[in-house]
Symmetry: C2
Subunit: 559 residues, 2 copies
């Protein structure tokens, strides 16, 4: 009894550094005394108003400040929102990374691009295996998801066991590999689970996510019905089971497979090297060989299922693809659903493809990778956790998970809907948020990390809405007289060629501003610039209800 009582005092800290405000950027630190381990390290994609930003990574200041404590990263699966920030973060934190084989392969690909392969210690872990690190033992448990080799983690800590599901669904009949290891979850539940951190993506959806078998059925049906047409299938590059399925169906129907899109080629290469995709001999051909085969002998597997402007399918749709043109009769299968925010882009590609005479199919061609309510309930029944921490979702998803946990018997006071940066402390005796650490978003634009912030983004927003007007004035250094200009240049504002009169008016307004300053003996450039800005802003709003960025430039001339 004594030992048990002692354990009751032990306290573990859970600190999500991202991933709780929207889908993406998953990263959570677990801290016990002088050890920290981190689960996942993902990016998120920029919101519509983050103009020009390529991707968003988490602020890991807390980890860097506690460098000596950080023991390693444990990665649940190989999606961008779980591995994408690793190369950025590992530059500051040189610690080992633990993952299953395919996940590890995808991480290696990233590290290679960033020249971090040699520097970074990595270890491949098998499902069922545990890693001892610092005060923790981390056990990898098989789950199902829309990428192979996905894992839940059972994090054994002195304060108790924390189960982190990663992204998961329950597929009793996956096409490849094993179903989720429900027995192990039951075993953990039997012994007692301190806390459950569970995927909330589909917590608002009733029922059970369909098995991958449904998609297999649809594919078979479509290939059997359209024996004379060229087939083009768009899906997520990372969904290797889906790609395998397409390859198998192609093989069965005697078709050759052409692979399009850089990420599709990369992922298929790695997955087949590691044995996660098996390609029958002579099935995959190069795009150049396509001309040697009739349409009915071809399947093209391509990226672009989200309507991404630069992806292979979008290029085919708008006739900018180097080698593949869409023809009447082509059958194009979207094996995906649009991620929220991409609906219009996907719709655009579908319309373009249809206009070229192609048939576009998007019904029963995809199943979600995330557990719906009945699956989540099953997990609660097996694990019976003391505390619940909804993860992976927007606030509305986390709240839906909270509601579900309550329905399954968890007391509301034992459910923590956290925000990124919260420090949650748990012991068997009690749980509470005891602090807050920095958890910002860092913007990556090109090669720049963090050099674009709110001010820059705000300027981009103004520029994008109304363009800019530059006013250039040359002023004599000695007598403060205008000796050049004001000249007015604009971009993104109006068709200048047809707006002579307007540009003249603008020039006059600027001229009057400067003269007003000179007459009032204002020689402070900041004040002159501010006057030009104000006068111009007022004029433009009155005249045309627009607010372009006005940039006065004063050149001091020494003559």
């Amino acid at each position: 009894m004594k030992e048990k009582n002692e354990n009751n005092d032990k306290k573990i800290k859970i600190i999500p550094l991202g991933g709780l405000e929207k889908i993406g950027m998953n990263i959570t630190a677990f801290e016990y005394e002088d050890s920290i381990i981190v689960v996942d390290c993902g990016i998120s994609f920029p919101e519509d108003d983050m103009l020009g930003i390529d991707l968003v990574i988490p602020d890991v200041s807390y980890l860097v400040d506690n460098k000596e404590k950080v023991k390693g990263f444990f990665i649940t699966h190989g999606h961008e929102d779980h591995i994408g920030a690793l190369p950025y973060v590992l530059k500051d934190l040189n610690v080992p990374v633990y993952a299953t084989k395919l996940t590890h392969g995808l991480i290696e690909l990233k590290l290679k691009e960033h020249n971090l392969l040699k520097k970074t210690k990595r270890k491949i872990v098998k499902h069922g295996q545990s890693i001892n690190l610092g005060g923790f033992r981390v056990e990898f448990i098989k789950t199902n998801h829309s990428i192979a080799d996905a894992s839940a983690l059972a994090i054994h800590t002195p304060a108790g066991v924390i189960v982190h599901t990663g992204d998961f669904k329950i597929d009793y009949t996956p096409l490849f590999g094993d179903p989720i290891d429900l027995q192990r979850f039951a075993g953990l539940g039997k012994k007692g689970v301190l806390a459950l951190m569970m995927d909330s993506t589909n917590a608002q959806r009733p029922g059970f996510t369909m098995s991958e078998k449904l998609v297999a059925k649809t594919f078979n049906h479509l290939f059997a019905e359209n024996k004379t047409n060229r087939m083009i299938v768009a899906t997520f590059a990372s969904n290797v089971d889906r790609v395998q399925q397409i390859i198998n169906t192609a093989f069965e129907f005697g078709r050759k497979v052409v692979i399009q899109g850089r990420s599709m080629v990369n992922v298929i290469n790695i997955a087949s090297e590691l044995g996660y995709i098996k390609i029958p001999e002579n099935t995959v051909i190069e795009v150049e060989q396509m001309k040697n085969y009739q349409d009915e002998k071809i399947v093209i597997v391509t990226t672009g299922s989200q309507g991404e402007a630069m992806a292979a399918l979008s290029r085919m749709a708008d006739s900018t693809h180097k080698t593949i043109s869409i023809k009447p009769g082509d059958h194009i299968i979207f094996s995906s659903t649009p991620i929220p925010g991409n609906e219009k882009a996907v719709s655009k590609v579908i319309n373009e493809l249809s206009m070229k005479g192609a048939t576009v199919i998007y019904q029963d061609t995809h199943v979600s990778g995330h557990a719906c309510q009945e699956e989540l309930k099953l997990m609660y029944s097996l694990l019976r956790p003391q505390y619940v921490i909804p993860v992976h979702g927007e606030y509305k998803h986390l709240k839906a998970q909270e509601k579900l946990a309550q329905e399954m018997g968890t007391d509301k006071s034992n459910i923590f809907v956290l925000q990124s940066g919260n420090v949650l402390q748990l012991s068997k005796e009690q749980g509470s948020i005891i602090g807050q650490v920095k958890a910002n978003e860092i913007f990556v634009d090109g090669l720049g990390v963090g050099d674009v912030g709110n001010i820059v983004i705000r300027d981009r927003l103004v520029l994008s809405e109304n363009g800019l007007i530059i006013v250039v004035v040359g002023i004599d250094k000695h007598n403060n007289q205008i000796i050049s200009g004001p000249d007015v240049v604009s971009r993104g504002f109006v068709y200048v060629r047809e707006a002579d009169e307007l540009m003249n008016k603008i020039r006059n307004v600027a001229g009057r501003s400067v003269e007003k300053c000179i007459n009032n003996n204002i020689s402070n450039w900041g004040k002159i610039k501010a006057t030009i800005k104000d006068d111009m802003g007022e004029f433009l709003w009155k005249e045309m209800k627009r607010s372009p960025l006005v940039m006065p430039i004063i050149i001091e001339i020494n003559r």
Copy 2:
């Protein structure tokens, strides 16, 4: 028999000037000899890549070029995508406008804003009534839609009858007013319909659009279950029947109604003036009076159901609303579904509201205003048209309508999936596309109409992605030497304060460019500018993988 044969020769032209590439901007001209009538005159909302554009209107050059032929506009209903461009177009074409009472009231509101009320002839038409104009007789027929007073038009022409459904659904049990006049459609069908132009919005959806009764049921249920909470209902301002329903439910449960949002206030005012909304005495109160009532006595009806950043509900959600703050316990009903493209914005508002402790409800709280497949099939059965022209939809919707028409027995060669600008000529003997007229999109930005085009938009796109760098160089007019600069200024590029080193490098690159030109005796300013642009572009891409807009400005100084 003679007369019939004569009629077989008569030819009518149908010329859609917008509305066939996407949802929005509906406008179609019907031309017979020296008469043209126009059905609808709508705007569309800008696509994501039309930066800074407020709205898009159709190019009516064809109508302006044939001014003397144009007899008038017939408007099917009062939605923006059917009436919004009228004030712009009527400036060039002063012809009468025909519409039913509520539609007419909403048009008046627009004309007043644009100072066109006095100048424009208008006539209110009743359902069942016909207007003789030029070679046409236009009959207004009652339909159901998500705005009251919607009409289909039977256009009686010497070549035959053309039925244009407008936007419609079949509601056997509308809450207010009559169901659609199916008997009249049957009568027209019996006598013979030359062509049917039918709403394709929901042509991909099987089944039957639910009746407004469903929403009434949900509202009753929600109000009965949440007697102690403040209720906030967001819906489209133009959906006056829905607003009536909310007011009735409020009255029944003894609540006062507060109306929020400029368009909501406007539309309710007009609708109630014209008798389309009946407000029980003492039911609607001003927002300032709200403090005199307990939460359980209040319903707020608001705009913002599409997540529009400036709308009342969004302001409540992000705490920028002047008078209303969201509190825990508030029940917020979204009586709408997100229009494609708005999903993320709506999601954001829902999350913000939930974070403030409100309960957000969006299930069974809305029904579509457009007919699904079974309704469309019913119309085909009643009308049995010779030709079919799918309207109102993206290409995929039009194609779905085409498929449906074929299933209902129309020969594919008699179905015309048109593009805006096509001139379709129909007679009982044959139908074909005989030409093409101008049918562009014209951008409206602030008060400017058509002064922003592709070049301006392209500049805005570049600016929005990467910002700009301005290089200013002063050159001596006489000896071609640099006497000022190069100075470098940037906006929307990087945090300049933390990028001293980078800005220095950029200045050096610019300096070397100019010197290179001077050393090579290049004095053509265009060439110097191009050199700076090229060198800078190359440097920035190599250094940071970014492509800001580079604007060299050369000042010629006379010293």
